[in-house]
């Protein structure tokens, strides 16, 4: 059996991998949905955009389900505290996730422009909500959220939905939104009819620019305006998962881990280089722009996770209750078993997902669409 410390670090990395998997794979679906009304000028064009994500969005969304399930299994406290504490924010995301499958399926089932338009708005709205709330939630990780544990490790939360809307969190919400809209536009440039793709290229450039500015701004804010958290006293990396066994102080810098592990700088650098990459490489002919935006999305999330390390969820009202990599995980046995299962199945998932993308490859053109449908 691997030692507990190593397993925890691996599962921290895997949690990041799953979140990145979700953001890269499902992020472009959300981005396309969010841009539906901007890139698609009429019902037919919107249908082209939707057909570009329709065969694969469902599989992509499983990255999110899996990230949720894996958090439950490997970081049960993180799952319990974040989902119950941010109750209404999570409910909003849940609403979006319920509406997407039915939206994709039901939209074409009634041939009426009002019906199609209704579901277009539903898909756009659910896309925007998830992209924004995900970013706002990440912002709140840096600020700390108001929870504490009692001796039974029952959590209580002091604060409501609006407490999450700190200006910094709104900024990270916009970082997430612009980043994923850019990512979605890069997909549309690759997949949609040329007239729409040309528009998507422009949108991708603008969104990437906005993203880069906001991302740097958020970084500066973190450096100068937001005190970091640090575990004080001895750090037991393989002890029992009980947050109350440690002491935490707030007041340091979130860049402390970057100083400790200089290679962490690779993530924010890659994020900005990729943003430049999107500007230079995006066109309607090749996949390079999309690869660049994928790297941008992945490294942005990694850069946030690195800064927080070893914290998963800091507490603003009782820093000692903060969840860290060292005291919020499942037992060693569970982490080990789940790692084995992941090692076996993740490659298989990647294999058949690639096969499906290959089968469903190719641009969705208006001409084809008109041939196949009556316009719906």
């Amino acid at each position: 059996m691997l030692d507990y410390t190593t397993l925890r670090v691996i599962w921290w990395a895997l949690l990041g991998t799953l979140l990145i998997g979700f953001a890269v794979m499902d992020g472009f679906d959300f981005g396309v949905a969010g841009l539906l009304k901007i890139l698609g000028r009429n019902n037919e064009e919107r249908l082209v955009l939707l057909e570009g994500i329709e065969p694969t969005w469902e599989g992509n969304q499983v990255w999110f389900i899996l990230a949720g399930g894996a958090t439950f299994a490997a970081w049960p406290m993180l799952y319990a505290v974040s989902f119950s504490g941010m109750y209404f924010a999570i409910a909003l995301v849940l609403l979006a996730f319920i509406l997407r499958p039915v939206g994709f399926n039901f939209r074409g089932k009634v041939h009426d422009p009002r019906w199609a338009s209704l579901w277009d708005w539903v898909l756009t709205g659910s896309g925007l909500v998830v992209m924004l709330v995900a970013g706002v939630a990440f912002g709140n990780l840096f600020l700390g959220v108001p929870f504490q544990f009692d001796g039974d490790l029952r959590m209580s939360w002091q604060g409501g939905f609006f407490g999450l809307l700190h200006p910094f969190a709104l900024l990270t919400g916009l970082v997430s939104l612009s980043m994923l809209l850019a990512h979605g536009a890069c997909w549309a440039a690759l997949k949609a009819d040329h007239t729409i793709a040309a528009r998507a290229v422009k949108v991708a450039r603008w969104m990437t620019l906005i993203y880069a500015v906001l991302y740097v701004l958020a970084g500066v804010w973190v450096a100068y305006g937001i005190p970091g958290f640090a575990v004080v006293g001895p750090v037991l990396t393989d002890g029992a998962s009980n947050p109350l066994y440690k002491q935490v102080a707030q007041g340091g810098s979130w860049f402390a881990s970057y100083m400790q592990y200089p290679w962490f700088w690779a993530a924010p650098l890659l994020a900005l280089v990729s943003a430049v990459g999107v500007q230079l490489l995006i066109n309607r002919r090749n996949v390079a722009g999309f690869i660049a935006s994928s790297l941008m999305v992945g490294s942005t999330i990694a850069s946030a996770g690195f800064a927080l390390f070893p914290f998963l969820l800091p507490s603003s009202i009782d820093p000692r209750s903060s969840l860290t990599v060292w005291d919020a995980s499942s037992s060693q046995g569970t982490l080990q078993l789940m790692l084995l299962v992941t090692i076996v199945f993740l490659p298989i998932i990647i294999l058949y997902t690639s096969w499906v993308y290959r089968v469903m490859r190719g641009r969705v053109t208006l001409e084809e669409l008109r041939k196949a449908h009556g316009g719906y």
Binding site: N60, Y79, D152, R154, M360
Partner: protein, 521 residues
């Protein structure tokens, strides 16, 4: 910390409603996908176009239902964290794993392949498409397997122990969790119920076409598949339902006694109460019609083992509460001093009873200070809602036997090629459509409502599992679900009816129109 009783009630209500709602769509997905796989196999083997069109037509209905199943399934995954945070913390170490494995092994495959199933007809070879359909079917049943492994652990929590340092249950043996006998029985019983439901869906709608004289060949072929698959499934659901009853009687004696409204222990072999009116206040069953021996046979698979009645089980619970208090006391000592040998020994001796001490938390903040009255109240609280279980069980079982008869008749008529010879039969098949849903929902009630007051049988009382949210928050989300789910149900049923009415002829699926058509998404 005293738990807010309103939060508990509202959270339970929300969970029950969203789970029952989710379970309207899941069994249809489970069953219909295999019927699609069978039809497509016939298409690939015979090369006859009509079988492909059958897959495409039933596929349209499958798609509408699949979307609803996926949508309402997300709620289930979110809800443990949102509304059952202490539960999630307390048992996430064990319960989370099968849910995550379900995602890795089954749902990923399902979600990825479903797009190819609908949109890949012209992009891959027949054989490859058939494989996609088969893997899709396999993935849905695998999905059920992992969910039921998780659920079985709630009914019969094996392979785990309490850790006072982390204040939660932790895995001691994964193979015990995986090979939980309850999981195996539940899995086969539940997927069989889904197969029955899927078969009834195809049988009833096809019967409607035959009553109208529409799509005759198409409907007869569909009915033949449904009758054969449905008969096998109906036999399996009853036989394995019996196995399920046997494991319940081994592990959840109180649930079994309540289903049977068996207030007092009877000499072996116990008789089965066919019908009667359970009287909760007097702890007796009025106007009971009893069949001798049957209950003893179902519950113990023997003639000489006694089955304990509710009264006796309340007495057992009382004893376990008293033992549990000692374990609870030892747990508190160990929390402060993890090396205290005496406390370790006490906890080791009584840790399986600690959950019973937690039952007291509804009445007293510190179980160690419980009065004899508190202990009596806690012991009485282990009795689930007897009349509801009694009737839910009987409705479910009655439906089960009816399905064997109906599918038996259908199979016989199909083999005689007389499916459309009698209108009464077609009407019967049509109007039987809601019954498998009724049976499935009743089954859920027996299994889950019958587990009360436990979230995890004997380990964690449901009332302790809730999140530290306000009743206002839960009321708001519950109200949201009711409104939103009702709206979705209306849309879903409208679309289902619309496409079923249109039929393969109205949709241009069969007989094929001259120009090529795209169908199915």
């Amino acid at each position: 910390m005293i738990i807010d009783a309103d939060v508990v009630t509202l959270s339970r209500l929300q969970f029950a409603l969203t789970a029952l709602y989710h379970f309207l769509f899941v069994p249809l997905t489970l069953g219909l996908v295999w019927i699609l796989a069978i039809m497509e196999s016939v298409y690939v083997m015979t090369g006859r176009e009509v079988w492909k069109r059958m897959v495409q037509f039933w596929g349209v209905l499958f798609g509408i239902n699949f979307a609803m199943g996926v949508a309402t399934g997300v709620t289930m995954e979110f809800q443990f964290g949102m509304n059952w945070a202490y539960y999630s913390h307390y048992v996430g170490d064990i319960f989370g794993a099968p849910l995550a494995i379900e995602g890795l092994m089954a749902f990923f495959l399902e979600g990825t392949l479903v797009g190819v199933f609908f949109m890949g007809w012209d992009r891959i070879s027949r054989i490859k498409h058939l494989l996609v359909t088969w893997f899709l079917a396999l993935a849905t049943s695998l999905s059920a397997l992992w969910i039921l492994i998780a659920n079985a652990w709630m009914q019969h929590p094996v392979g785990a122990a309490f850790n006072p340092q982390t204040m939660r249950m932790e895995v001691t043996s994964f193979s015990d969790v995986l090979f939980n006998p309850v999981a195996q029985d539940k899995f086969v019983h539940t997927v069989s119920a889904g197969y029955v439901l899927g078969s009834m869906f195809v049988l009833s709608i096809s019967a409607w076409y035959l009553l109208r004289g529409r799509n005759v060949d198409f409907a007869k072929r569909s009915m033949t598949v449904a009758a054969s698959f449905g008969l096998a499934a109906a036999l399996s659901v009853v036989v394995l339902g019996d196995a399920s009853g046997y494991t319940v009687s081994l592990n959840q004696k109180m649930k079994m006694a309540s289903i049977e409204a068996m207030w007092h222990t009877e000499p072996a072999p116990a008789s089965f109460t066919l019908v009667g009116i359970p009287d909760v206040a007097q702890r007796r069953t009025i106007a009971a019609v009893k069949v001798p021996w049957v209950m003893g046979l179902i519950g113990t698979h023997s003639l000489d083992e006694t089955m304990p009645g509710i009264d006796e089980l309340v007495g057992v619970a009382k004893g376990r509460i008293v033992q549990g208090i000692q374990a609870y006391d030892a747990m508190l000592v160990l929390r402060e001093d993890k090396n205290n040998a005496q406390a370790k020994a006490t906890l080791a001796a009584h840790d399986t009873d600690m959950g019973y001490a937690l039952l007291l938390k509804r009445y007293v903040d510190d179980p160690r200070k419980a009065t004899p009255e508190d202990i009596q109240k806690a012991a009485d609280s282990t009795i689930p809602n007897v009349p509801v279980l009694f009737w839910s069980f009987r409705i479910m079982v009655g439906c089960g036997f009816y399905f064997i008869a109906l599918f038996g008749l259908s199979f016989w008529k199909a083999s005689k090629r007389q499916l459309d010879s009698q209108r009464w039969y077609l009407k019967l098949a049509l109007w039987s459509l809601p019954l498998p849903w009724l049976a499935a929902e009743m089954g859920w009630i027996v299994a889950e409502y019958g587990r009360q007051p436990w979230a995890i049988e004997g380990v964690l009382p449901t009332a302790l599992g809730v999140s530290s949210v306000t009743s206002g928050q839960v009321l708001a989300s519950l109200g949201g679900f009711v409104l939103f789910y009702t709206a979705l149900a209306i849309v879903d049923v409208t679309l289902m009816l619309k496409f079923a009415r249109k039929g393969p002829d109205g949709l241009g699926i069969w007989p094929p129109l001259s120009s090529s058509t795209t169908v199915g998404h």
